[in-house]
């Protein structure tokens, strides 16, 4: 009833090229950002920020990065965790070796290192596709896991590759309490979400999608497959690397290579499949689903006062979580983003039938 476009006429192409074309959408998004920036840091508890919102934001960012590669360019990658690790370790190394570098630059440079590594491991994509490419990115995961564990120079000779960051500050402002870290992550997520959206709605994104949908036709139109695939790898690894650096610096504080294992790669892949391949907003939905659902499942039995032992609760959680993913993928293979857009289409007409 309130979600109407009546009277909203687009009189110029600038208006038609907006990300949020409906006025209500723009208002809602601005309100959401305002709440996230102003109200959440004031109201949310330390636990909520540290254990839920910060991981959610950082994993959303990683999911956006992976979605560019898998969802938009159609190149399956199982090495996301490794690219996150490259971002985290590179940023950490820069901080340790050149302490003068500010945190922001450290993280962005970490992202650039991940870009370089991502492009190198993206080269097989010029010859391989589908499952074979997935296996070759799996090699990236195993190789980098091994590298951070076994090459002492990469971790400044610390035992078993575990490293920790000291006190953080952002251009003189301290980054200690949960809300400060939260806002820092939020800034990254908002900026990179806008950048990602801009990329996928312009020529760059159209080239990626053309390669994904029909690479021979893309070549005949004049798209260079190598360029399109490698830019997708580069942009994707950059964002993933930045999110890895944030994960290490903001969320973990101290970590070892295991934090970025194959499990992480699969977790991110699940996020974008559940959230919606080829959708920026879907990356957020997927991250929310994967981060929030286990927390909800842990707390539900307690709400009903069910006396479950801890073991049983954990097992139940796994069972329900797994079956939900399966059911969900059968019911809606295009993910939460598709449900979201169907819902909006319906809402445009509601309460009228047409």
């Amino acid at each position: 009833m309130f979600y109407r476009e009546n009277g909203q006429f687009k009189a110029s192409y600038v208006e038609d090229l907006r990300i949020f074309k409906v006025t209500q959408d723009r208002v809602a998004v601005l309100a959401l950002v305002a709440i996230a920036v102003l109200l959440v840091p004031m109201l949310a508890s330390d636990y909520l920020l540290r254990a839920v919102l910060i991981p959610f934001l950082i994993l959303s960012l990683a999911a956006i990065g992976l979605n560019i590669l898998v969802g938009y360019c159609g190149q399956i990658s199982l090495g996301t965790g490794a690219f996150m690790a490259v971002g985290a370790y590179a940023a950490w190394n820069i901080g340790v070796r050149i302490p003068e570098v500010p945190l922001l630059v450290q993280i962005l440079l970490g992202g650039l290192c991940a870009t370089a590594v991502g492009v190198v491991f993206g080269i097989p994509s010029l010859r391989l596709r589908g499952l074979y490419l997935a296996v070759s990115t799996l090699a990236a995961q195993f190789f980098l896991d091994w590298a951070f564990l076994r090459i002492p120079a990469l971790t400044n000779h610390s035992a078993s590759g575990s490293v920790s960051v000291g006190t953080l500050s952002f251009f003189g402002l301290p980054l200690e309490s949960a809300w400060q870290k939260y806002l820092f992550c939020l800034g990254f997520v908002v900026v990179f979400a806008v950048i990602a959206k801009n990329l996928v709605r312009t020529t760059t994104g159209r080239q990626w999608m053309a390669i994904r949908d029909m690479d021979i036709a893309a070549g005949v139109i004049g798209i260079r497959p190598a360029y399109a695939k490698l830019t997708a790898f580069a942009v994707s690894s950059f964002i993933v690397g930045v999110s890895g650096a944030l994960w290490g610096f903001m969320h973990l504080g101290a970590w070892e290579p295991l934090a970025f294992s194959l499990d992480r790669s699969f977790q991110l892949l699940f996020m974008i499949i559940i959230g919606g391949l080829g959708s920026i907003v879907g990356s957020f939905f997927g991250a929310a689903f994967i981060v929030l659902l286990p927390i909800v499942l842990t707390n539900v039995p307690a709400l009903f006062g069910l006396p479950l032992s801890v073991d049983t609760a954990v097992h139940l959680e796994h069972i329900i979580f797994g079956s939900l993913i399966v059911i969900f993928l059968i019911a809606e293979p295009h993910g939460l983003a598709r449900l979201w857009s169907i819902g909006r289409e319906k809402l445009r007409l509601w309460p009228f039938p047409y």
């Binding site: 192409y13 600038v14 038609d16 090229l17 950048i195 801009n198 990329l199 709605r201 312009t202 020529t203 760059t204 994104g205 159209r206 080239q207 999608m209 053309a210 994904r212 949908d213 029909m214 021979i216 036709a217 893309a218 070549g219 005949v220 139109i221 004049g222 798209i223 260079r224 830019t231 942009v235 080829g278």
Partner: protein, 273 residues
């Protein structure tokens, strides 16, 4: 080629079938292992004409188009486009030189909207880089709008305004063929290769498609190489026709000549021995 008003166009274009030779193929042979797809084929295409390639199934028609736009590389033969000899060339280079095409089995980008598909056709003309796209401010936005205007002209021309935001996977077959033509037209090609643009269409859709092909040829002066099985259509709209059979050329000339060529009749109807 300009996308201009119908009244102001076509004045300077040469009469059909009498223009300069813009594409010249000499002694083309193409083999896949032991299979000879094309054997010693020579023909040329003149500026601003509609040149049809016909022949029974498996005659090598689509292979011929693939040779012209660089998807296949013939083992023997020479290709001159606009007077320059082409060496082994990739499809991207052919596209940059002004050769666009449509495919026999629709090769649209199924996950993208009609608008995005046709915008993709202009990608060679868009010069902004990744970083400008990322910010989408100033030049990138200006460029996007400039090309959007051109694409809207193509959309108007093909009368598909109502479906511009529909994902192409959801469109019926006839409209998908039209969108594919739109994507090729968006590149403003000099030479347009159409691989069975009317296959699987009903009479009305065929008439529409014929009209579009003739209009493209008339208004924009685009040279067209056409593969088609509907002989009525081919004989009506072509200036000259090449006939292939088992990878060899068995006829070449104006539609009337070709129609009465005994070899062609034999290839299509068989002969009594």
């Amino acid at each position: 080629m300009n996308m201009t008003d119908i009244n102001s166009a076509t004045v300077t274009a040469p009469a059909r079938g009498q223009g300069e030779v813009i594409l010249d193929l000499q002694n083309i042979s193409l083999r896949f292992g032991g299979v000879k797809a094309l054997t010693d084929i020579s023909f040329n295409v003149r500026e601003h004409e509609i040149r049809s390639i016909i022949g029974p199934n498996g005659a090598g028609k689509s292979s011929m188009l693939n040779v012209i736009n660089g998807v296949y590389h013939p083992q023997e033969g020479r290709i001159h486009f606009r007077g320059e000899e082409r060496r082994k060339m990739e499809p991207q280079v052919a596209a940059a030189q002004g050769i666009a095409r449509t495919f026999q089995n629709i090769a649209l980008f199924k996950g993208m909207s009609v608008l995005d598909n046709i915008m993709t056709g202009r990608n060679l003309k868009m010069k902004c880089n990744l970083f400008q796209h990322a910010l989408f401010w100033g030049r990138a936005q200006k460029e996007e709008i400039e090309h959007r205007i051109k694409v809207e002209e193509v959309i108007d021309f093909l009368e598909i305004q109502g479906i511009r935001h529909t994902p192409v996977g959801r469109l019926p077959y006839g409209l998908q063929k039209r969108v594919e033509l739109g994507r090729a037209l968006a590149a403003e090609p000099e030479l347009l290769l159409l691989d069975e643009p009317m296959a699987g269409m009903n009479v009305e859709e065929k008439q529409d498609m014929c009209r579009f092909i003739l209009d493209v040829n008339d208004q924009f002066g685009t040279t067209i190489v056409l593969i088609e099985h509907d002989m009525g259509v081919v004989m009506d709209i072509s200036d000259r026709v090449v006939v292939l059979d088992y990878g060899r050329k068995i006829g070449d000339g104006a539609p009337d000549e070709v129609k009465n060529n005994p070899d062609v009749i034999a290839a299509y109807l068989g002969t009594s021995h």
